[in-house]
């Protein structure tokens, strides 16, 4: 006979009082972003200079939003993807290869890369689901493995380091904004062409987890694996799918980065790991799984990007940026903790 040894009332509960709670971190982020924009632009008016600052910022932001989404895809399960960077790299390799050796058009190359990314992600997911090994370890090992593989592939198939061939349209992605496309006298806004791609990704991911059965089942799997299995959810399949999505998004992020830089090289994704966590975590997505916030991720990535751009303009060194980013992360999390504790104290039970 099983008796409840730990009646939950007075124990620390990880649950949250009521859902409106989620609104808070995002609103807070928005406020902080607004404040920072004001601060930076008053310190350096060039912050608001569209061509010099805003446009490149949007382009970078697009990459980091997608990177954050890639991590979010597995955070939904309560997993981690330590190999987001290398998945982006190998996906980039495939795309670059397609452009270089097959002279593929822009979209085809992208699709090839996405497919490769999804496959690698699926492999990771499959290993995790089949063996039950911690996702941290599996993706860490994969990261190691892919690190070697990507270098080897590039040194064998490209000029040693990168693919420089650019298909039609790539330059447009890199340099154009919508303001370069006019019909009559009406021109588009000064938004880089890569931005809609990131937006579409965000919308798709958001809808997936919000509305689609598959997304919900993934979240339930993340919330409680055993309960999910006992509720008829094909948990193994969902794990593979979530990781495949992660790989695919990593690949997309790699593509966007390559588009921004003009070449596909082996070090794509080198800097993806930390931002992949920063966006979602700042945005309120928990490491424990079961709940994600796409909007939060976008805001979190925006905050990071605003800080980096602002500090850059204030001529802080790249390395100093890291210090600030880290401090902000700690501060944000501590605040979140405080909020949690306060909400718990006020929480009621039926």
């Amino acid at each position: 006979m099983v008796t409840d040894v730990m009646e939950p009332q007075t124990e620390v509960r990880p649950t949250v009082a009521t859902l409106p709670f989620w609104a808070n971190p995002r609103l807070g982020l928005l406020v902080v972003i607004a404040v920072l924009v004001v601060v930076f632009s008053s310190l350096r008016s060039s912050f608001l200079n569209v061509d010099l600052t805003i446009v490149p910022m949007q382009a970078d932001l697009s990459v980091f939003v997608v990177v954050g989404l890639a991590q979010l895809a597995v955070l939904s399960l309560g997993h981690m993807n330590m190999a987001v960077g290398r998945m982006a790299a190998i996906s980039g390799f495939a795309t670059g290869y397609a452009y270089d050796k097959w002279s593929a058009p822009l979209v085809v190359g992208l699709l090839v890369g996405l497919a490769v990314g999804a496959l690698v992600g699926a492999l990771a997911g499959w290993i995790i689901a089949a063996t039950g090994v911690n996702s941290f370890v599996v993706t860490l090992a994969m990261d190691f493995g892919l690190l070697g593989l990507v270098s080897l592939l590039y040194s064998r198939f490209s000029d040693g380091v990168a693919f420089h061939v650019r298909p039609a349209g790539m330059d447009a992605l890199r340099f154009d904004t919508f303001s370069d496309y006019c019909s009559g006298n009406v021109c588009g806004p000064q938004v880089p062409l890569v931005v809609p791609i990131a937006l579409v990704a965000a919308v798709v991911v958001g809808l997936l987890f919000r509305r689609f059965r598959v997304g919900r089942e993934i979240l339930m799997t993340g919330s409680n694996l055993r309960a999910a299995a006992l509720s008829g959810i094909p948990t193994g399949r969902r794990i593979v799918q979530a990781h495949a999505l992660s790989g695919l998004l990593a690949g997309l992020a790699g593509f966007l980065l390559a588009a921004n830089n003009g070449a596909f090289s082996a070090n794509i994704g080198d800097q993806f790991l930390i931002p992949s966590f920063l966006g979602p975590v700042l945005g309120g997505t928990l490491l424990a799984g079961g709940a994600v916030s796409v909007i939060g991720t976008i805001l979190g990535a925006t905050l990071t990007e605003v800080i980096q751009t602002g500090l850059n303009l204030l001529q802080f060194q790249v390395q100093d940026l890291n210090v600030f980013i880290g401090l902000i992360l700690l501060a944000a999390l501590s605040l979140d903790r405080v909020r949690h504790v306060l909400a718990e104290r006020r929480g009621a039970r039926i």
Binding site: M80, I127, T131, G132, V133, N134, F136, V137, V138, L140, A141, M142, D143, F144, G145, L146, L147, G148, L149, S151, L152, S155, I274, F277, V281, L287, Q317, Q319, D320, L321, N322, V323, F324, I325, G326, L327, L329, L330, L333, S334, R337
Partner: protein, 327 residues
């Protein structure tokens, strides 16, 4: 079933013995194979020395990670903290003119201090150790450059470098240092009550708490120890390489996990294996040496290590499943 699940984890203890044994066998076999296929090249004094010389730092880094894994935590800042301590040591000697021993001491204090901060943050904010150390890793990676920018430090304390690059009876000094560190850790975890308390906290936090052990203190101590060991590794680097710069540590994070994981340390906590971690570091080093001897592209090493880590965990997973829980 929950009663038994916790003990499934514990069968790792018994499989740990066999992991250590397996690794020892692999190490011996690997060494022999390498020695014979390189026509004895491996056994020359210089090659051997290089083998062990460059084993010291990965070993200590692996141990630094192992310590926090023992309480069920992770320390992502291990790599960059090592670099930070290296740079500080060099800076103090070159720019501030401190004597070597004092600079070394300062570096160790810094390592210990940062580790303690990590631990306190985890305990006070109750935030996942992964995220906390992710944040501090970010901060420290930037702070490294704050010490002296991107400049390289050289020509500091020739005595220190002589010690670092020297050897005793043909065995590299820093390797001896690493072995001493490993030995001390082994004693700590096997014999000292503080170490046993750490393992109790990692093995069953609830039981530990009900037995009067403070899990919070265990976490702080583990992180502090981890930071200290990172500092030791940093000092080793300063002493043995003769020149340091702020980029040290960027590539040390993944190896810091590879060694303990291959060495049989469970991510869940409660179990450590100094021997396993060292043997695993040795094996990885062997692969490195093989790569150099045969002229294999170094990237293959990464590939192999990745596969081995995965394999190691798979095997331990399978083993604990087969032997199951108590009847």
């Amino acid at each position: 079933m929950t009663v038994l699940e916790r003990f499934d984890r514990a069968t790792i203890q018994t499989s740990l013995r066999s992991t250590e044994f397996t690794l020892a066998v692999l190490a011996a076999v690997g060494f022999t194979v390498l020695a014979s296929t390189t026509h004895g090249n491996l056994l020359t004094a210089d090659t051997l020395k290089a083998l062990f010389q460059f084993l010291a730092v990965p070993m200590v880094i692996g141990l630094a990670q192992m310590v926090v894994l023992g309480v069920g935590q992770m320390n992502l800042s291990v790599g960059v903290l090592t670099g930070f301590c290296s740079v500080i040591t060099a800076y103090l000697m070159v720019q501030s003119g401190w004597p070597a021993w004092l600079a070394v001491l300062a570096a160790l204090v810094v390592g210990l201090g940062v580790g303690t901060v990590n631990g306190l943050l985890v305990v006070l904010t109750r935030i996942n150790g992964f995220i906390v150390t992710l944040a501090t890793m970010t901060i420290i990676s930037g702070l490294r450059y704050g010490v002296h920018g991107t400049a390289t430090f050289q020509n500091y304390s020739p005595q220190l470098v002589r010690l670092g690059q020297g050897s005793v009876l043909g065995v590299p000094a820093i390797f001896i240092g690493a072995v001493i560190v490993a030995g001390l850790l082994a004693v700590f975890f096997r014999r000292m009550s503080a170490g046993r308390r750490l393992l109790a906290s990692g093995g069953n936090p609830l039981a530990a708490r009900l037995s009067g052990i403070s899990n919070d203190r265990s976490i702080v101590i583990a992180h502090a120890l981890s930071g200290l060991l990172a500092g030791v590794a940093g000092v080793f680097i300063v002493a043995s390489s003769g020149s340091v710069n702020a980029s040290i540590g960027d590539d040390l994070l993944l190896p810091s996990f590879a060694a303990p994981i291959i060495g049989g340390v469970a991510l869940a906590g409660g179990v450590v294996s100094v021997l396993g971690t060292c043997l695993a570091a040795f094996l990885i080093r062997l692969v490195d040496v093989a790569q150099a001897q045969y002229g294999i592209n170094p990237r293959w090493v990464d590939l192999i290590v990745g596969a081995v880590v995965l394999g190691a965990v798979l095997i331990s997973q399978l083993r604990s499943r087969v032997s199951g829980g108590s009847p």
